[in-house]
């Protein structure tokens, strides 16, 4: 199949984040809590429009993908996350970028 041109693809934003938590968490824990916090704050309809995906997560840092028009809502629902597996945790967004490469180079490598 021919690949879609970049200008035709759905626009995304990539949020580089770090996790500050009492106990280490896995990627699946983060996915579950982020989605539950988003659906509680924004409702299921808006959350589905945000298209939140946790792309990668290792060593306390990772990247979350969302729709480019819903960055504000996504960040708000990340702020509303208070616990992971019943242990206190916070997600701190380091920055946003239009590409995974940009987000990795700017915010995750140091």
């Amino acid at each position: 199949m021919k690949r879609l041109l970049p200008s035709l693809r759905a626009k995304k934003r990539y949020l580089a984040f770090e996790l500050i938590s009492e106990e280490p968490a896995s990627r699946s824990d983060i996915v579950r809590e982020v989605i539950s916090s988003a659906s509680s704050l924004l409702g299921d309809v808006t959350t589905s429009n945000c298209g939140i995906k946790v792309l990668g997560f290792e060593k306390g840092k990772g990247i979350i993908q969302c729709s480019h028009t819903k960055v504000k809502e996504t960040r708000a629902s990340l702020a509303a996350l208070t616990r992971i597996n019943g242990k206190r945790a916070t997600i701190h967004v380091l920055g946003t970028s239009g590409t995974v490469k940009g987000a990795t180079e700017k915010f995750l490598q140091n």
């Binding site: 504000k72 708000a76 208070t82 916070t90 701190h92």
Partner: protein, 239 residues
């Protein structure tokens, strides 16, 4: 105009909260704040004043959150703590306390005004707040930590207060009300959360940077300050 400076004016450290002020200050600095105010509740103060940490490029202000049910005792406490603190917050929660706080121009911020079935403000109180320059605090922690019906209740109270504040031009202050490091949120996330909760972008920005700066300026007058609007300026090339 340069980059705005962000302040968090309601942070509780040990023994009121869980973490020490050093830990909170360094995390807040990492998040991009320019300063935080240590505002422990007045009913859980330590015996001696805690030393505020000195961090380069970051300021920790001395503040207090007064908890008192009796309005006349509250006025006494305000007089007692006013001169030794940069930020004076009153913990509201009843009609009488809210009124006493908003009618006292020496108070900086009123937090948690909501009680029972009221958002805590009404037309009369909002006008008093605007006249006396008392800001209404929007605290993040209760909003973040609750879900469902409780959060819905708080958000509708917030919206009600917001409409009154817009009508009477009452200032707002966004603060975390953090009891531990895990309650702190970075300024950008605080702003986005506030916008999702119904504030406009510029209102939220004012509430986290301009209004706190104004409070600080009011409480730390320059050397030639005489009274509001009157100041002696030194130097030759003023005009």
């Amino acid at each position: 105009m340069g980059k705005p400076k962000f302040y968090d004016f309601c942070v509780h450290a040990a023994p009121d909260g869980d973490n020490t002020i050093e830990e909170l200050a360094s995390l807040a600095r990492h998040f991009g704040y320019s300063g935080i105010a240590l505002t422990n509740h007045s009913d859980r103060l330590p015996d001696k004043k805690p030393a505020l940490p000195l961090i380069e490029g970051f300021e920790v202000f001395r503040g207090i959150e007064l908890v008192e049910e009796n309005p006349s005792k509250l006025h006494g406490l305000i007089g007692k703590f006013r001169n030794s603190t940069d930020v004076l917050i009153v913990h509201g929660g009843s009609e009488a306390v809210n009124r006493a706080a908003l009618e006292n121009p020496r108070v900086d911020i009123l937090n948690h005004p909501a009680f029972d079935k009221s958002s805590g403000l009404n037309q009369v109180l909002a006008k008093a707040a605007a006249d006396n320059g008392v800001a209404i605090g929007i605290t993040l922690r209760p909003l973040l930590h609750s879900r469902g019906s409780r959060r819905i209740r708080m958000l509708s109270d917030l919206r009600e207060n917001l409409e009154l504040a817009r009508k009477y031009e009452v200032s707002l202050v966004l603060c975390s009300d953090a009891m531990s490091c895990f309650d702190l949120r970075s300024p950008m996330e605080t702003l986005d959360f506030a916008e999702v909760c119904g504030l406009e972008e510029d209102e939220a920005l004012d509430a986290i940077s301009t209004v706190p700066e104004r409070i600080l300026k009011k409480n730390r007058p320059g050397p030639g300050y005489i009274r509001e609007g009157v100041e002696v300026l030194e130097g030759e090339d003023i005009f």
